[in-house]
Symmetry: C2
Subunit: 422 residues, 2 copies
């Protein structure tokens, strides 16, 4: 590859809010999204919350001339909602469904039924290997009392590990999606710190769009204003993250967001704002010396984030085990009650009452059994993530203790990280 | 690294049959397994079916002086059963839980509750990166009428894809485990063909052990003889598979199996036989010219296997959708029945009968709902795997059509495959 090699990548990301029967003006918005994507002709359009596969097939047809390659990531009961349209051929794709994704009995939240996942696409562009990831993490329904916090942290860790282990031979890594994490949330810090990914909004010098890069705005007529009560300017939960490995350098030349309206006119394309980034990949080193990113301060920050995440998962394991134990006691109680009812029904006397009480007691037993199974599974899943974190934390501490002179073995995945700082 | 670099790796694999309360002589077998592993001092011991974490902790303590590094892969309701003991430090580990793993209502088979997975360990040995995978696929309970065939094929594909995407920078890849697949089964062929992994039993010149390398033998007193009725010599379902990438060469110098007895005396260590392989990794090319492995015949074989797997998954998708549709009708019927019962109860007359019938109709509704959710999830999971297969199949056909002259882009993952043929 020539030393003056340069590649421009135009990326589009949007959480489409495409819930059949529930999302307003869905068909119209899908049509306008298709028109916009065709007109703009991005290199890669990564979409979330395309819950209806019919919508995907509609877009697939509409976008075929401009984006010959497309893929829908299928998972869960409803579908992952993730899909991608690409101007360039997709060499390979695969997906990883998150082990933990909310609770099946929280039917009104529905995340469990979606099978939230991360999708991976491998593209070969002018001899460069691009690993593009698209994801959507569990939603946050109540920031003050967030019962899904542990699951979201576990998902962020699984995402970071999936990227880490599948991108070792990639030249450029790109992650787009709705993380349902504010920039300073634990999951976001963990993801960025462990993968070394850079945030397009923070890196670019040329940003135009919503205040503070927010992707859910009070101006957007589809947004539930109550959700933004604490955040008058909106929240930033959708991201374009990237990094270069193996001697390449990548920078975010421009970043645009929509601002609560259609890019041209009319109602917005979704309840989220779209992100449009222009990345520049080069084969030459940046013009200025990048500041060192693997110093003792960075190591110490990594250790502290890993520890914070470990504590969160540890709390989650304890809570899951508590629920499983509680369900275990209820199962015991249900069995006792059932035995008693059988005895009463057989002995005559209050036979009618005994038979009538069968329904709730069998229901109790089955319900408690399901809760037990679910929370045992949760505890095991969280234990798995916690063990990985503990191992990484141990190695990060070792690296920290060895001081700045010795290269931290831990940060192997960031070797040759060539992200150009702007 | 010197051209005469050479590394000898001694590997141990065993499905331990460690089901609490059910497996015979478990404690005694675990003790003897620990003694044996300590005495033999392998580089890596990979175990399956260690269902009790207490057994893992017992082995952990016992093996600590010889195997300082160990890890248990936690998942599912019971645990994945997978663990590993290593003489060398483990640099990194992670796990991938299979999307599909049997049916929750097949409680007597239990696989669904185990959270079957593949565990990955990254080891750095004398500057060489070794990716070691350990796995256990869904059991086969009835070969004539195998209701889990599709799930096992999907698992084999997920395993192959996980290895493919996570091992791109590894020098040597090792996969051990109980695949529950006979050597000529579709899943096994798919796995080997897509990853390029070589079978230690077929490759080694120095094999000692059971006839045809079988790992479940009629001689083993723990084996259910009925399971082997069709196979008088036993079956081979546990494997040591390997390959080298990036200019390294690996060969299997020796392979040993136990033969239905304890390696020294007494009852066997498990109902499966242990595999003990000595692999030799070298940095120099093999002494003879290896036969070309990417010719038109190989491509045609790959295409035919991919097609076979695609058909199997397609059948699985249709069947899962049929069950979901059937459950949908039952839900409708249950709702109608419930409405009728409510009307009867309110109207007097047969009030008592109506109330009594509430139990079965609510049960029917909930049961059908669960079946619907499960089979929808199954259909989506299988669709995801089928889409990946379809993509790969398309590219394999393209490569086939391009003929032998052009390098098949498809076989990227096998580039530089340096497995030494014996």
């Amino acid at each position: 590859m020539k030393p003056n090699f340069s590649l421009r990548l135009r990326i589009f990301n949007l959480n489409c809010w495409g819930i059949p029967y529930l999302s307003k003006h869905r068909a119209d918005r899908m049509k306008r999204l298709g028109d916009f994507l065709n007109m703009e002709s991005f290199d890669l359009a990564l979409l979330e919350e395309v819950w209806s596969e019919q919508d995907f097939h509609y877009l697939r047809q509409k976008l075929l001339p401009t984006y010959p390659a497309a893929h829908y990531f299928s998972s869960g009961v409803i579908g992952s909602g993730l899909c991608v349209f690409s101007k360039h051929p997709i060499q390979e794709f695969t997906q990883h469904v998150y082990t933990l994704n909310g609770y099946p009995y929280m039917i009104h939240h529905g995340d469990w039924f979606c099978g939230k996942a991360v999708g991976l696409l491998v593209l070969h562009l002018s001899g460069l290997v691009l690993n593009a990831y698209v994801t959507h993490l569990h939603a946050e329904y109540n920031r003050q009392k967030d019962i899904y916090l542990t699951h979201r942290v576990a998902q962020a860790w699984e995402l970071a590990q999936f990227i880490h282990h599948t991108s070792k031979k990639a030249d450029v890594i790109l992650l787009c999606g709705d993380l349902n994490l504010h920039p300073k949330d634990l999951g976001c810090r963990l993801l960025k710190e462990w993968t070394g990914l850079h945030d397009a909004y923070l890196e670019t010098r040329d940003f135009k769009g919503s205040e503070e890069g927010c992707t859910m705005l009070p101006e957007n007529c589809y947004v539930n204003q109550r959700e933004l009560e604490l955040f008058p300017f909106g929240i930033r939960i959708d991201y374009v993250l990237y990094k270069a490995v193996s001697g390449f350098y990548v920078s975010c030349k421009t970043l645009r967001t929509t601002t609560g309206h259609d890019p041209h006119s009319g109602t917005p394309l979704s309840d989220h704002e779209a992100l449009m980034a222009t990345l520049c990949v080069r084969h030459s080193p940046p013009q200025h010396t990048p500041s060192p990113t693997h110093g003792p301060a960075e190591r110490s920050r990594l250790v502290s984030i890993l520890k914070e995440a470990w504590i969160e998962l540890d709390l989650g394991v304890a809570q899951a085990r508590w629920w499983a134990t509680f369900a275990g006691y209820v199962i015991g109680l249900g069995l006792l009650l059932l035995a008693l009812l059988c005895a009463l029904a057989a002995g005559g006397g209050v036979r009618e009452v005994a038979i009538l009480l069968w329904t709730p007691s069998v229901g109790l037993l089955l319900g408690a059994g399901a809760v037990y199974v679910f929370h045992m599974q949760e505890a095991k899943g969280l234990s798995g993530a916690r063990a990985e974190l503990q191992h990484v934390l141990g190695r990060a501490r070792e690296a920290q203790n060895l001081g700045t002179e010795s290269p931290p073995a831990l940060l192997l995945q960031q070797e040759g990280d060539g992200t150009e700082e702007q």
